[in-house]
């Protein structure tokens, strides 16, 4: 298959232009102050020093927490769904996966507004409760509302990759395991989960990345007090116009995520090669 080695060259060129150069630019901004970094080159670490402030650290921690929580819920709710879908006949699987995806083609802002109307104090759910003679629930501007909105938005990105890796799994492996006396739980752990690991990892990575850098959903459903890394960076770039500090925050974020992903991929390799 050596013939195909050259196939990655076009994207290599693309990567250099559209990823590496912009990346260098951001890192350059992060390490300089004042004006155009390419022309002035005032190197400094002060942008990073500024991050070391209790408020910003709290923002980082809160974003990480929210990212982890959203990812965990998407994983535990999404895996069973992906698994159930993968047990359907082939043609139906594609349709079911499409049915999972279609909601994400409706503008995200609009879907979030729909959740606001469902959850708000005078909203649709409370209206129904009142008609049933029940008391009203306070749901808007709580962690609950934010998590609901994020999970609803990101779960398809967990389901699709997991389903992909489950789809072409050879069912005879499962039968063989069962025939050899493995309990359903053992079969799941040793065979199904093991074989779907690449998909699980892909799903975790995608949902976590989107969760940690999202800010529109938390802002609308949780209120402005939901300051997350995403809106910290956005406000530095747009409102404040301090691209240096904004770049520094996103550089730190990128490094944290890259380390986390390295660890995940190591796990993946161990799973694949191990035992």
């Amino acid at each position: 298959m050596k013939e195909y080695r050259k196939l990655s060259i076009p994207y290599l060129v693309w990567t250099v232009i559209f990823i590496v150069i912009p990346l260098i630019l951001i890192v350059l901004y992060a390490f300089t102050v004042g004006g155009n970094p390419v022309r002035t080159l005032n190197f400094t670490l002060s942008n990073f020093a500024k991050v070391n402030e209790p408020t910003y650290i709290r923002v980082f921690i809160k974003s990480l927490e929210l990212g982890v929580l959203t990812t965990a819920i998407c994983l535990f709710a999404g895996y069973p769904l992906a698994y159930i879908i993968s047990r359907f006949p082939d043609e139906q699987q594609d349709i079911l996966i499409l049915v999972v995806t279609i909601p994400t083609w409706i503008n995200m802002l609009l879907r979030t507004y729909a959740w606001m109307n469902l959850l708000s104090d005078n909203g649709i759910i409370n209206g129904l409760l009142a008609k049933l003679g029940l008391g009203s629930l306070h749901m808007m501007y709580t962690d609950f509302a934010v998590i609901i909105g994020m999970v609803c938005n990101f779960m398809p990105f967990m389901i699709i990759p997991i389903h992909t890796s489950l789809q072409k799994m050879d069912p005879s492996l499962i039968e063989a395991a069962m025939d050899l006396g493995a309990s359903p739980l053992q079969t799941f752990r040793k065979i199904i989960l093991r074989l779907s690991m690449p998909g699980v990892i892909n799903g975790i990575v995608m949902v976590f990345l989107m969760g940690i850098s999202s800010f529109v959903i938390p802002k609308l459903l949780g209120g402005g007090q939901y300051v997350l890394i995403g809106n910290l960076i956005e406000s530095q770039f747009i409102t404040v116009g301090d691209w240096n500090f904004g770049s520094a925050i996103s550089t730190i974020l990128a490094v944290i995520i890259l380390i986390a992903m390295r660890l995940m991929k190591k796990m993946d390799l161990k799973e694949a090669d191990g035992e």
């Binding site: 150069i21 769904l81 995200m108 507004y113 956005e234 770039f237 116009g241």
Partner: protein, 623 residues
């Protein structure tokens, strides 16, 4: 294949999950048929939003851009990503690891970072922003998702398969298409779905890398947030309908056909090839249309590029202007003055901008604007003298007023007593209303409230006073538990979700016309008076047309229709008076207070003060 475990629990679980995913969609669809503007109170069945959708040329064009960009970006990035994934599995480990790590960067960077860096890249390459730059950016952020989906499948591929095919006489290309690609199919399918989704729903990156009037659905929606209405719900409903129809056509019809004519099953392959051919033809068609659109938007002889805040103009007036003066107006919108400035900074070219006072002051200082020839503005005498000659542009050398107003408190008359309302900014500290108020999520406006409540100037940079204002906001946060909201406050106050909100007078006018239980006060401690005005950039070449444009919006009839549409106070005196007696009779927010000595206009802040404000505000919100 074993197809068990489709028990009752599985079915219930699928149903529950789908119900969860489709709940907001159902709400969206239901409210597309609402007879009123409300998004939470269904008042009756009507098709008015569908009618207004069809008349809205902006939305129709945006659908076209969104769909073609999503389809093209998906096709290109799927091909690019798939061949790259195959190639990568055969390259040296070091290069492969490096590429795979780099590949994650666009996924892990927050959108805004990717957006700004791509904007800078396109600007420094001297590329004109529009359809092409948007497409390139979309391919850029979609391809990594394809690689991420396809690569694990390639890794699991048995390399001897392709070798076997080639030993049996297949060319590498045949081995690729006949042996490898079919095995990778699930991964490619996932990649297609992910890229289409990411592309179709993207706002931030599209906004910053596009220009020249090229907008996708998200850009239109995000700039509509001030006056969100069901037109977009109607659009989404149509999108869903179209998707379902396409699915039915492609998925179910062939199967029915096959069932009826089983003898044709063997011809599946030729059908596949034919489908591929149709797909390619469609792609070519789209490309042609795409380039046509790109050329078409910048082809007219006389054109005017206008950059205004979102939902801040009656677009029918634009069409009339185009007809009257035989020109094309390329109209784009921004969400905030700062967003506009960021795009200017990147070298984007516009002829007319409609920024606020402090931003005009900054643009004058930084030499972005050119002086106007007031002789060409025949309706200049119609302008209310109260809105002329303000600090930001003392002689109106550069600016023609567009709308104006102040900031005040909107309150529910059934909940808040008259006496309490008269407390002005102190009402926001009244423990009776704890947990029932919205503050405006903007550092400048919130600090203004605190500084005014304390009796200071809102333009101060005195550290002592700023510290006190910060303490005021902290105390307010701890005792009052306010919600810091953006434009969503408009819809929320119309629905009556909370009793008190800090809002701009123009938004208050609109909210009060939708919800009669509300009152508006302009605090005695003084508030922010603001002016939005039309200015002409240095790069504007057809200055005469630009001045005709400004003049057009001062014409009585046009000014009347514009203020009726937007709800903000008109700078044209006769219109302003007429509205007070007709449409907005009794709505105090339409009549901003003038000549009150404690009211001020924002001044442009230097970089350090701005950073300090932002830092203090983050501390208030995040602690």
């Amino acid at each position: 294949m074993q197809k068990k475990s489709k028990g009752i629990f599985s079915k219930i679980y699928i149903a529950l999950c789908f119900a969860f995913f489709y709940l907001p969609i159902v709400v969206t669809i239901v409210f597309s048929f609402n007879s009123s503007k409300s998004l939470s109170n269904f008042t009756g069945f009507s098709l008015r939003w569908y009618a207004s959708l069809l008349q809205n040329g902006e939305v129709v064009k945006a659908v076209y851009v969104s769909v073609t960009i999503a389809v093209l970006a998906t096709i290109i990035s799927t091909v690019l990503g798939t061949i790259t994934a195959i190639g990568l599995s055969k390259t040296r480990k070091i290069l492969r690891d490096a590429m795979l790590s780099l590949n994650d960067i666009p996924i892990l960077n927050p959108d805004i970072v990717t957006a700004i860096s791509l904007m800078l890249l396109f600007s420094s390459l001297g590329m004109e922003k529009g359809y092409m730059t948007m497409l390139l950016a979309h391919i850029g952020f979609c391809t990594p998702f394809v690689i991420t989906s396809v690569y694990p499948k390639v890794r699991g591929l048995d390399p001897s398969l392709a070798d076997a095919a080639m030993d049996l006489g297949a060319t590498p290309f045949q081995a690729l298409t006949k042996v490898i690609l079919p095995i990778l199919r699930p991964g490619i399918f996932a990649g297609i779905l992910l890229s289409f989704t990411m592309s179709f729903d993207d706002f931030v990156i599209s906004y910053f890398v596009s220009g020249n009037g090229v907008k996708n659905i998200s850009i239109v929606v995000y700039n509509m947030t001030k006056r969100i209405n069901s037109t977009i719900n109607a659009l989404s409903t149509l999108v869903i309908l179209v998707i379902i129809l396409v699915l039915v056509a492609f998925r179910i019809l062939p199967r029915v056909h096959r069932k009826r004519h089983p003898e044709e099953a063997g011809k599946d392959k030729s059908r596949k090839n034919r489908n591929l051919g149709i797909g390619m033809a469609a792609l070519a068609g789209l490309l042609v249309l795409g380039t046509w659109a790109a050329v078409h938007t910048s082809g007219a002889s006389r054109e005017l590029r206008v950059y205004n805040a979102g939902e801040y103009m009656d677009l029918d007036l634009l069409k009339e202007f185009e007809q009257k003066y035989n020109c094309t107006v390329i109209y784009e919108t921004f969400e905030s003055n700062e967003t506009m400035y960021t795009k200017l900074l990147a070298g984007d070219q516009y002829d007319i901008l409609v920024p606020s006072d402090y931003m005009i002051e900054r643009l004058i200082k930084e030499d972005y604007l050119q002086p106007l020839d007031w002789d060409l503005i025949s309706n200049k005498d119609a302008i209310n003298p109260d809105v002329l000659g303000k600090d930001y542009d003392p002689d109106n050398t550069y600016s023609v007023p567009y709308f104006w107003g102040n900031v005040g408190i909107l309150y529910d008359k059934r909940v808040v007593s008259q006496e309490d309302a008269a407390q002005g900014w102190d009402l926001l500290m009244n423990p009776k209303y704890a947990g029932r108020l919205y503050m405006y999520d903007s550092e400048r406006d919130s600090m203004m409230v605190a500084l005014k409540a304390l009796g200071y100037s809102m333009n101060t940079s005195d550290p002592q006073q700023l510290q006190e204002a910060y303490d005021w906001l902290i105390k307010q946060r701890d005792t009052m538990k306010p919600i810091y909201a953006g434009d969503d406050v408009i819809d929320n106050m119309i629905s009556g979700n909370k009793a008190i909100a800090v809002v701009y007078s123009g938004d208050a006018t609109y909210i009060m016309s939708e919800n009669p239980n509300l009152g508006y006060i302009m605090p005695d401690q003084g508030t922010n008076l603001w002016y939005d005005a039309m200015v002409m950039t240095k790069s504007c070449r057809n200055t005469e047309l630009a001045e005709e444009f400004m003049d057009f919006f001062l014409e009585k009839d046009n000014a009347l229709r514009n203020t009726q549409f937007v709800g903000y106070s008109s700078p044209v005196e006769s219109v302003y008076e007429q509205m007070q007696n007709e449409d907005y009779e009794g709505i105090s927010a339409y009549v901003p207070r003038v000549g009150y000595e404690k009211d001020e206009i924002f001044h442009y802040q230097d970089a350090e003060t701005k950073k300090l404000f932002a830092q203090l505000w983050t501390k208030v919100k995040a602690q």
